[in-house]
């Protein structure tokens, strides 16, 4: 989790309401209802909630794609519609909306041209991003032929082409294999360490738990819970003690001691690895055995100050 958070808010949302209307301007759905939100610089902030809870609507309002019905929204100190503010934002949409006839390189070239950067810098970044996304070999294939996971990687690369200060990721790990998911999480942590702010919307709670500093849980457009993730997850009524493996005799002695101290039977289990760790170890070993070069986990320009 990020250690570079400072007090400056990058996103400030006050009493935001969004009502979608039908053709006759009658209210149809209230997607966001009086939402208050503050995301600080260097923070990884999770936006959680079931389908239809208003996560994507909130994100689209932050990007100026939708107009709020009421309330105040400020992104990097400016209106969400401000073109200048958008030059410091990277956005990965829920679906990888890409032009199917363009190759991966052409797609990144196109998005790169929308920012103020030199041709040399653009080409350098595209090369690093393609390597990071593991798409160097597929760079000249049309993205319309890509699998969902590969298209997602191109989508992520386009979101980072401008080395943004604020990265908004809508379901970034959807469609990715476990290695890709781990890479995305490492990327988020690296970016946050560099003082970048990340707003993450995801249904994969394990991903959110791994990387987020704070989360908000939305339901029907309203905030239900908001706070630091470790505080929300902490069970104050019990604690876990992790010690090296003991012989059965020693274990009995320790348990007896604890039983005497707390006056009830303690639970005992062995810590286990999760499936993600095992999968990554196996695939990394397979990569080494086949002497294939591993892609960079993070593009050079994204990890250097």
């Amino acid at each position: 989790m990020s250690s570079t958070i400072n007090g400056e808010p990058v996103i400030k949302v006050t009493n935001l309401t969004k009502i979608f209307r039908d053709f006759w301007r009658r209210p149809k759905v209230c997607a966001v209802d009086g939402l208050d939100l503050e995301v600080k610089r260097g923070e990884i902030f999770g936006l959680l909630g079931p389908n239809g809870s208003g996560k994507s609507t909130t994100i689209k309002i932050l990007l100026g794609l939708l107009h709020p019905s009421s309330g105040e929204v400020s992104v990097m100190g400016a209106s969400p519609c401000s073109v200048k503010a958008k030059s410091n934002i990277g956005y990965l949409p829920e679906e990888s909306y890409l032009y199917p006839y363009l190759t991966a390189r052409e797609a990144l070239e196109f998005y790169g041209r929308l920012f103020d950067m030199t041709g040399t810098a653009r080409k350098e970044r595209i090369s690093q991003l393609l390597n990071m996304a593991g798409l160097t070999r597929e760079a000249d294939r049309p993205v319309g032929e890509f699998s969902k996971g590969m298209a997602r990687r191109v989508g992520l690369a386009q979101a980072l082409i401008n080395d943004p200060q604020l990265v908004i990721l809508d379901e970034p790990t959807s469609g990715l294999d476990p290695i890709g998911c781990r890479q995305v999480k490492d990327l988020m942590l690296t970016l946050a360490q560099r003082g970048k702010t990340i707003l993450l919307s995801s249904h994969l709670l394990a991903d959110v738990e791994d990387v987020c500093d704070r989360v908000v849980i939305l339901y029907k457009g309203r905030t239900r819970v908001c706070g630091r993730i470790n505080e929300l997850l902490e069970e104050r009524e019990s604690m876990r003690l992790t010690i090296p493996s003991l012989s059965p005799e020693k274990t009995k002695e320790v348990l007896a001691l604890i039983r005497k101290a707390i006056n009830q039977d303690p639970e005992i289990d062995r810590p286990s690895k999760n499936l993600e760790q095992i999968f990554i170890e196996v695939v990394k070993q397979a990569h080494k055995d086949s002497e294939e070069s591993c892609p960079d986990s993070v593009a050079e320009y994204l990890s250097s100050d």
């Binding site: 909306y97 041209r113 386009q158 908004i168």
Partner: protein, 332 residues
């Protein structure tokens, strides 16, 4: 400003390529060229007007197919992007809605101009090869330019074949390659024709085409640009089908606006209302003046300038309205 121009050019280029990639674009373009190339082969009488039927048919195909291409390309390029999500990816970058909208229009117009060039070359060729009466020391009677006629007929098939081979060997997209080959093949037939006389024998270079057809083609292109502006403005709020329906109505009513809204046959009881509708509807009759070529006539330069100004002002007005509408569009 420099960045805005860079963004404008990037989006324009992409829109033009996307429009040309669409199978419907290739299908309509190739059908139009094929019909123009078939017309002189099927005509056996001139009714005293050398080349008139071939010329008029070519220009009519250019206009009708162009209207479909312009309407479809314009509304699908914006409506498809808005509903497909690619617009949200682009507009989340530092691109203003005005730049995006105008670049989309310019991209569509670029594709329409590419089609118009092909249709204009095809019409020139069609008029050249049609059956004509010759009374020269070498020739006397009706003759058709058979060699160029056959080459012209082969153009769409050759373009499809070449694109198929490239698609198989190099995996390049078929649609845009076929259109590219169509354009190159038409130019090649036009230039090759210059080296042959009516009997198909090598001769000193002479293209033998009626260049006075080009101003009429240019006026048709202006009409297509106006229709693109209308279609792209409508597609800020409507999806492809309603936009196409409204465009068709605007075209049909605009074609009859001289009859319906002005003069003694007007269907509107109030002259002020009639005059207002007459002013706001595009008058397509301004753009269709193929009859001016009859009897060796030409289109006066002043008329072309006036019509260009009319098309420019009309398109600018429609696009201004489109920009205002697009500013408030919600991109879901």
């Amino acid at each position: 400003m420099k960045l805005k121009i860079k963004q404008f050019l990037a989006i324009t280029g992409l829109t033009a390529i996307e429009a040309i990639h669409q199978p419907i674009f290739l299908l309509l373009s190739a059908t139009c060229i094929l019909l123009i190339s078939l017309t002189p082969q099927l005509l056996v009488h001139q009714f005293g007007e050398e080349g008139k039927l071939a010329r008029d048919s070519g220009l009519a195909f250019h206009f009708v197919f162009g209207l479909f291409i312009a309407g479809y390309a314009a509304c699908s390029s914006l409506a498809r992007e808005l509903r497909g999500g690619t617009a949200s990816a682009v507009l989340s970058k530092p691109v203003s809605r005005e730049v995006f909208f105008l670049a989309k229009f310019t991209g569509v117009v670029s594709a329409v101009i590419a089609f118009s060039i092909c249709a204009a070359i095809a019409t020139l060729l069609s008029e050249r090869i049609v059956l004509k009466f010759y009374d020269t020391p070498e020739l006397l009677g009706y003759f058709r330019d058979k060699l160029i006629g056959w080459l012209f007929l082969a153009v769409p098939f050759a373009a499809f074949l070449a694109a198929g081979v490239i698609n198989y060997v190099k995996r390049r997209p078929f649609g845009s390659m076929a259109f590219g080959f169509l354009f190159v093949a038409l130019c090649a037939v036009l230039v090759t024709g210059g080296f042959f006389n009516i009997k198909g024998e090598l001769a000193p270079f002479d293209l033998r085409v009626e260049w006075r057809i080009l101003p009429v083609s240019l006026l048709i292109t202006f009409a297509l640009i106006v229709l693109s502006a209308i279609a792209i403005t409508l597609s800020t709020w409507f999806s492809t089908v309603p936009t196409m329906v409204i465009c068709s109505l605007v075209f049909i009513i605009g074609l009859m606006s001289d009859y319906l809204f002005s003069g003694k046959h007007t269907i509107v009881s109030s002259p002020a209302v009639g005059a207002f509708i007459y002013r706001i509807l595009p008058n397509w009759q301004y753009f269709w003046i193929a009859d001016a070529l009859n009897g060796g006539g030409i289109v006066p330069a002043g008329y072309i300038v006036d019509t260009a100004i009319y098309a420019l002002v009309y398109s600018a007005g429609v696009l201004f309205l489109g920009m205002l509408l697009f500013r408030h569009v919600e991109i879901k």
